[in-house]
Amino acid sequence: PRSTPIFTNQFAVHVPDGPDAAAEIAAKYGFDNYGQIGALKEYFLFADKRLHKRSLSSSESHHKTLRDEPRVRWFQQQHEKKRKKR
């Protein structure tokens, strides 16, 4: 038995075509584009405010949207990770 992750409304998305294409994709599907993830070029953080900020299940419809978008090479719905100070 594993604890169920808590999914957020954020998606990490790999768009090899770069920031302009990422902006287009975000706009096309109604995501907010929070920009590049740290130093990882071509990786962008999208969020969908229509989606619950915390959910026990991942969003199949968003998965399908991003899976079907040819300019998206990879994506991952973000889920919370338990991290503790030591």
Binding site: I37, A39, L45, S58, H79, K85, R86
Partner: protein, 887 residues
């Protein structure tokens, strides 16, 4: 040491504004060897910093004095604390605060100031350990008290993979050292690590950070000692990219919170048992800047150890800014001391006679030794990665208590290939197994040189899980040993929990990291009068120095006279007239031979640092003064030459490779702005710059990681190797690993399950989740199930009805079909047949009434505890044994 009278600086008063400001003077006083450290620092809590001033048992400390006395204080080194933020205006931090090393991920702005809820003091405390300002009236001193310090606020809110990747990848060309004192829960049952984005951030950091020298990640090994946790089950400390730092008490013992594991590289002092051992003194978070709240002497745990290590690493970086991330690990391995901690058991001598322990790694960090060695250090050769075959033979793990399964493999260390590893650094043993409970297991790995390292100690609290899936257990205990020979893995059922059924070792693999040639070469600087420059001369490490020698003695490579060796100080002859004259005088050669110059040519190059480009020509005045000849090599530019051949040009028409003019730079080099061919990073075949992230194509035996634009010898986790075009392609979303195609997962991210090589949050319809997190098909009658058998249905496919776990087309006598729930439900009492709750026919002695129920035809059908009323048996009042009515 410092002379109080010889310095002055405008120290801000307590009530100054402490906002971001340009870096100010670094605070040194003149060296004055012999003055005790206690007398040097005016900082009121320095006397409480026992770990810096000889205050540990038997007078030990982390030997900061010699490093400081050499003048190393962290100047020009940037450290960032990844935590709950740092108090940027703290009077003991403000002067060293660096906003470029800071951000607030939790609130998405640039200010890492913690939210003052009484709990967000962790990052500020850690920052003070690294870079609290010295020589003031606040708290104590940081280990690197002139380092720039920043903070990332990331733990004061939900953490996810993207949050971690943003923190680990913040400004990697500016930040040198990232210090993290957090991780997955240390509860003794968690196995967790970085997700795909954080893993990419680590890879990007070590390959491209610090302009290619590699970001340095320092990590606290974990506080799970009370739960007998293992730091090898934490994917951050268990990573080759992190310096995993453990703790020792003031008395030189293992503290109660320490986790033992083979990935710990070294230790620093921290808290121990209250009353016996002191804790760590540092700054404290108080947004209101109340004087009695701004310091603490109670910082504790491995959290307090990692920043001390980060501070020492900062001193080493100041001593030698060209250290790579791997150089730093070597320095720690070679200089950490076991002696102060040898009262604690568990030290072993590895195959190259270095003491190492599962508690403390290679021992207590020694700042003085670190900077001394850093000063002389020559970068280690490129990292080679040699992967063994994956052993896929399934082997039974007997459930008997004490049983040990031994398996072995004979390896060559990829001898003869470009991946050859002869001098080991990290060794990973990637294991997939099933055993319930998982926490019973102890895993041991023995090297060809006879060193046994425990990859996993039993974890008594890990009683609900049963598997490791491709978990790469790391050991640093084989550092310096040879790779080739027989490696033995033992899987031991060592726990106290009763085991019902055998387990399976499904597969295992060894991954060796290291070098083909001796990595340890120290350097002395010798002045070359001809070239007016220093040249590096490399010597083998002293063979009589047990503290530092890594073994393989007598098998030492001097630095090869590479084509590119010494390009930074290469003696360019002819670029400037004074140099030409100097060369002519020293080597006795004749005056330069000059060609005709084109009208309008002007001289532009005048220093060693600016070699001539194809457009640069000689000094106008020389033209008329010197004899003009016309037999220079075609690769010489119009300035002419000293003689025949492309090595005699005054300046090159195109590019310069060593002292030869060439028409184009050869493979594995690139022309710099001055037209000199400089070497590409060793992983590049064609490149646009010197960094690992500047490859345009990859060197032989390297693979291009498509999304990170770097070349590596092996694909990292989460990528598959496309052998057709030698690339590493990221696996599809949610795959932890994949094969042949991005969408053919071979394992899934931690929380997901796999079905037909795809990863899902839950098993799809008609399948169920197995113990090893795969989805297996249900019986053909089931819609959902908990096993493959016919009677393990949880719900049925449309048109079928469930009864006792099996699905059937119709319900038996005494049961009615609930079409909505697809279940056979028992008929009401007295019904022979029914349709859900409505009886269609009744048992003998019962008759169907207008409500669709069967009522007993006689009162003698009722039980003794019931009474008869209107054709129904009804329950007596609770206080009655028998009754005639409801009262």
């Amino acid at each position: 040491d410092f002379m109080p009278s010889s310095f002055s600086f405008d120290y801000p008063t307590f009530f100054d504004e402490f906002g971001p400001r340009p870096r100010q003077t670094t605070y040194h006083r003149q060296r004055n060897r012999g003055v005790p450290l206690q007398n040097l620092f005016t900082d009121p809590l320095f006397k409480e910093q026992w770990y810096l001033n000889g205050g540990a048992k038997d007078g030990y400390d982390m030997n900061l004095g010699p490093a400081w006395q050499k003048g190393y204080t962290g100047k020009s080194v940037v450290v960032s604390i990844l935590d709950d933020g740092i108090q940027t205006n703290h009077p003991d931090l403000a002067l060293n605060y660096d906003h470029q090393a800071s951000t607030d991920i939790n609130d998405n702005d640039n200010d890492p100031m913690p939210r003052d809820n009484g709990d967000n003091k962790h990052g500020t405390r850690c920052a003070g350990e690294v870079a609290a300002v010295a020589f003031n009236q606040y708290c104590g001193v940081g280990v690197a008290y002139n380092a720039s310090i920043g903070g990332v606020r990331m733990l004061d809110g939900p953490v996810n993979d993207a949050v971690e990747a943003r923190a680990l990848g913040l400004n990697p060309d500016h930040i040198d050292i990232y210090s993290a004192s957090w991780g997955p829960e240390d509860d003794g049952k968690t196995v967790d690590g970085p997700g795909p984005l954080a893993r990419r951030a680590f890879i990007y950091g070590v390959t491209s950070g610090r302009k290619g020298k590699g970001s340095i990640f320092v990590w606290a090994s974990g506080n799970g000692g009370r739960h007998t946790d293992s730091c090898n089950c934490d994917g951050y400390t268990n990573s080759i990219f992190t310096l995993s730092i453990s703790s020792a008490t003031q008395g030189g013992y293992k503290p109660w919170y320490l986790e033992e594991c083979s990935s710990t590289l070294a230790s620093t002092y921290s808290s121990g048992t209250p009353g016996n051992d002191k804790s760590v003194a540092t700054v404290d978070m108080d947004a209101k800047l109340r004087p009695d709240h701004i310091c603490t002497v109670e910082h504790t745990g491995t959290s307090a150890s990692a920043p001390l290590a980060a501070g020492i690493a900062a001193l080493a970086l100041e001593a030698n800014p060209s250290l790579t991330w791997r150089d730093m690990q070597y320095l720690v391995v070679l200089t950490s001391r076991s002696t102060p901690l040898e009262k604690e058991s568990g030290w072993i001598l590895n195959g190259v006679k270095r003491k190492v322990s599962h508690k403390f790694g290679y021992g207590l960090m020694d700042a003085g030794a670190m900077v001394n060695l850093a000063e002389q250090w020559t970068n280690v050769p490129p990292q080679h990665i040699c992967k063994s075959d994956e052993i896929n033979e399934e082997r039974r793990i007997d459930p008997t208590y004490g049983y040990t399964l031994s398996v072995y493999m004979d390896v060559t260390g990829c001898a003869g290939s470009v991946n050859e590893v002869r001098f080991l650094e990290h060794v990973q043993c990637k294991v997939s197994l099933r055993f319930f409970p998982r926490g019973n297991l102890r895993l041991l790995l023995t090297s060809p040189m006879g060193t046994t390292s425990t990859l996993l100690f039993e974890r008594p609290r890990d009683v609900l899980s049963s598997s490791f899936d491709d978990w790469p257990f790391l050991s640093v205990h084989f550092w310096g040993e040879k790779a080739d020979g027989r490696w033995t893995l033992q899987v031991n059922n060592a726990g106290n929990r009763h085991v019902n059924s055998p387990g399976i070792l499904k597969k295992w693999q060894l991954i060796f990291y290291g070098t083909a040639t001796n990595p340890i070469r120290i350097r002395t600087r010798q002045f070359n009068p001809v070239h007016s420059s220093y040249a590096s001369v490399h010597y083998p490490y002293p063979v009589d120095d047990d503290q530092l020698a890594l073994g393989h003695r007598g098998d030492v490579d001097f630095f090869p006279s590479s084509t590119f060796q010494g390009y930074q100080g290469y003696p360019y002859v002819g670029a400037a007239s004074n140099v030409q004259a100097s060369v002519a005088t020293l080597d006795g050669s004749s005056a330069p031979i000059l060609t005709n110059r084109l009208p309008g040519d002007t001289s532009s190059s005048s220093s060693f640092d600016s070699p001539p480009s194809s457009s640069q020509v000689g000094d106008e005045s020389l033209d008329t003064a010197r004899k003009i000849l016309h037999d220079c090599d075609p690769q010489c530019d119009p300035q002419g030459c000293y003689g025949k051949g492309p090595t005699q040009c005054i300046a090159c028409k195109n590019y310069r490779l060593d002292n030869t003019c060439v028409s184009q730079c050869p493979p594995r080099s690139f022309p710099n702005q001055g037209g000199v061919c400089w070497p590409c990073h060793e992983s590049c075949e064609i490149c646009a710059g010197a960094g690992q992230d500047s490859c345009l194509s990859c060197a032989p035996a390297h693979l291009r990681v498509t999304d990170l634009a770097v070349c590596l010898q092996q694909c990292p986790e989460g990528y598959y190797e496309n052998t057709e075009n030698s690339t590493c392609v990221p696996c599809e979303a949610n795959c932890a690993s994949c094969q042949d195609r991005p969408d053919k997962c071979t394992s899934c991210e931690h929380h997901l399950v796999m079905y037909e090589n795809k990863c899902y949050a839950a098993c799809p319809l008609y399948t169920y989740e197995t113990q090893d997190y795969n989805c297996a098909p249900c019986h053909s009658t089931c819609e959902t199930c908990n096993g493959t058998a016919e009677n393990q249905c949880i719900s049925c496919r449309p048109g079928l009805f469930s009864l006792n776990g099996a699905c059937r087309a119709s319900c038996p006598i005494g049961y009615g079909a609930d079409k909505k729930r697809r279940e056979c439900v028992p008929c009401p009492p007295g019904c022979a047949t029914c349709d859900m709750s409505t009886c269609r026919s009744c048992d003998d002695g019962w008759s169907l009434n207008e409500e669709g129920l069967c009522a007993p035809e006689h009162r003698d059908r009722c039980k003794t505890t019931e009474f008869y009323e209107n054709g129904h048996c009804k329950q007596c009042h609770a206080s009655c044994k028998t009754c005639a009515g409801p009262g």
